[in-house]
């Protein structure tokens, strides 16, 4: 494999076929992708195009049935065992019997960090997501947006250079979403992590990423990979510039080419 040393994720002809009672489902077929260090890569496509499945293959939550994939130069299983990534699910997935602090401490406890180190990391990540002061609250006392922020803080608490995010803002309203998008970009600039971000929303994908991977369903495959020409520093107003709209247009064309808009 001729992956460059800066490749965090390298997929070659990746395929995943589920055997169901209705026959085989080709969730992914022939996916070639390189994710470089420091990239913010968005995966966009309609339901069933395999974007979440691809993220789960990277995370070793699913196993590919064809092709090869390396994460940080290792197999996904080895990468998972060395705790190379943080995963943010669609739902906050916080434990209801733990306070926010204790929820963020969960991976730190499992990975064996010392008590003082845990406290320091919890404080730092709560500050990063602007939840300082909410540490002692329980998840049910927080709004949906705050819970999702806590979930992101949890993924940032330990030292993993890769962040895998599966439609983290999907269940939130537009205004909270805008706010969290801006916050995520600031976070990305501050922590220099590599982020793989799955989304349904075209503006979100174009706003956040350095690279946009357009996928289409039946079978799940990559239709287009768009390098974003937008600068790294992006205020929310950039979403109304012609450059932005051009990229969004290209994304839409990619989706149309993949028959995503047809019944």
């Amino acid at each position: 494999m001729n992956a460059s040393p800066a490749s965090v994720v390298s997929a070659r002809k990746l395929g995943l076929t589920f055997q169901t009672s209705d026959g085989p489902v080709h969730a992914l077929s022939d996916v070639d992708l390189e994710v470089e260090k420091g990239d913010f890569v968005s995966f966009i496509g309609p339901s069933g195009c395999g974007k979440t499945t691809f993220l789960r293959v990277i995370a070793d939550l699913e196993k590919n049935t064809a092709g090869e994939i390396t994460v940080n130069g290792m197999t996904p299983e080895e990468a998972r065992k060395s705790r190379c990534y943080g995963y943010v699910f669609q739902a906050p997935a916080l434990y209801p019997w733990r306070t926010i602090e204790k929820n963020i401490a969960l991976p730190l406890e499992i990975m064996g960090y010392a008590g003082t180190e845990q406290q320091e990391r919890i404080r730092r990540t709560l500050d990063l997501v602007s939840l300082a002061g909410f540490g002692k609250k329980y998840p049910w006392q927080l709004s949906g947006g705050m819970q999702q922020r806590a979930s992101i803080a949890r993924a940032l608490a330990f030292d993993a250079d890769l962040l895998l995010m599966d439609e983290p803002f999907g269940a939130l309203d537009e205004i909270v979403r805008d706010h969290l998008n801006a916050q995520l970009l600031k976070l990305w600039a501050a922590t220099q992590k590599t982020i793989c971000f799955v989304t349904h929303s075209i503006p979100e994908a174009v706003y956040l990423s350095t690279r946009i991977v357009v996928m289409s369903p039946r079978p799940g495959r990559v239709t287009d990979v768009i390098e974003s020409t937008l600068p790294r520093e992006r205020p929310l107003e950039i979403r109304e510039t012609p450059e932005f709209l051009q990229i969004a247009h290209r994304v839409r064309e990619g989706l149309r080419a993949g028959h995503s808009y047809e019944e």
């Binding site: 995370a59 070793d60 939550l61 998972r80 065992k81 060395s82 705790r83 990534y85 943080g86 995963y87 699910f89 739902a91 997935a93 434990y95 209801p96 019997w97 733990r98 306070t99 969960l106 991976p107 406890e109 499992i110 990975m111 329980y138 049910w140």
Partner: protein, 294 residues
């Protein structure tokens, strides 16, 4: 949410209790009437309706004791007798309670161990569950005498056979409840543990156990009531000398129906107290685990 004011919580209960007592009185009069009529006829006595009703409600060995007769008996045998006396309800309740608690403790432990085994070992999952369910289909009234007699043959009497029967009845709800509870975490939570490469042990202590607490306490409420039944049933076969079951047995031998009903009331009070205590324990654990107050 503000809890409903005391009056609106007590009033419905009071209303139902009043209805029950009214029905009880009616039943007592109706069931004791034939014997009273017989008595009157043999004694050549003619009573007015009021006198007749009064007599049915104050027979020494009635078919259905009136509520006030039972109340007087309970009061006498609880408060006006020495606790060590053979006729004290407190003494008998304590004997039954001790084997109930011992059986409940062992039953809960056994149930939890079985549940942990079933959830973590595939072979146990397939083989153990059917046997556990089958074990509960054998009527306890058939097993209890066997257990008592077999253990008496090896000179084990007193608390242990009764505690064994209680264990037998109480481990099942705990085992079934805990299997459900340990398997209750969502797939998303389990996936999260996988992304951290958590060991089975870590997943067990940090995810499965806390998630199963509500199931555990619900099962324990059922188990403690079943345990009490087991203790009482364990006292019946050998004409035991002490305990609520023995009081029931003695009452039936000597036609002391009022004593029998008093023992039943004592047993009910015991059961209610035990379930309430488990409920309080459940609420304490809930508060520590930050459960949203209902």
């Amino acid at each position: 949410m503000i809890p409903a004011p005391l009056s609106s919580r007590i009033l419905p209960v009071l209303a139902i209790v009043t209805v029950i007592i009214a029905v009880w009185y009616a039943a007592a009069i109706w069931m004791n009437a034939p014997f009273q009529r017989d008595l009157d006829r043999r004694g050549d006595v003619v009573s007015t309706t009021t006198e007749f009703i009064g007599k049915t409600l104050s027979q020494p060995k009635p078919v259905v004791p009136a509520p006030h007769q039972v109340a007087v008996n309970v009061f006498e045998n609880t408060f006006l007798r020495k606790v060590t006396s053979n006729r004290s309800l407190v003494y008998h309740s304590w004997v039954t309670l001790s084997s109930t608690l011992a059986g409940f403790a062992f039953g809960t432990l056994l149930g939890i161990m079985i549940a942990v085994g079933i959830v973590h070992v595939k072979a146990l999952d397939r083989s153990l569950m059917p046997w556990i369910i089958a074990s509960q289909t054998v009527p306890i009234l058939a097993i209890a005498p066997m257990v008592v007699v077999v253990l008496a043959a090896v000179n084990v009497t007193g608390l242990i056979p009764k505690a064994l029967i209680s264990t037998y009845l109480s481990f099942f709800p705990v085992a079934v409840g805990m299997v459900k509870g340990l398997r209750s975490p969502d797939l998303i939570h389990l996936d999260l543990m996988r992304t951290y490469n958590a060991s089975t042990w870590q997943t067990f202590w940090k995810l499965r156990v806390p998630a199963s607490m509500p199931f555990l306490f619900t099962s324990m409420k059922v188990a403690v009531a079943a345990s009490l039944v087991g203790a009482i049933v364990g006292e019946l076969p050998t004409g035991a000398a002490a305990g609520i079951g023995s009081k029931l047995l003695a009452g039936s031998y000597y036609s002391q129906t009022i004593d029998m009903w008093a023992a039943l009331i004592a047993g009910s009070v015991l059961a209610a107290a035990l379930v309430t205590i488990v409920g309080i324990g459940a609420r304490m654990v809930d508060r520590r685990m930050g459960v949203k107050p209902a």
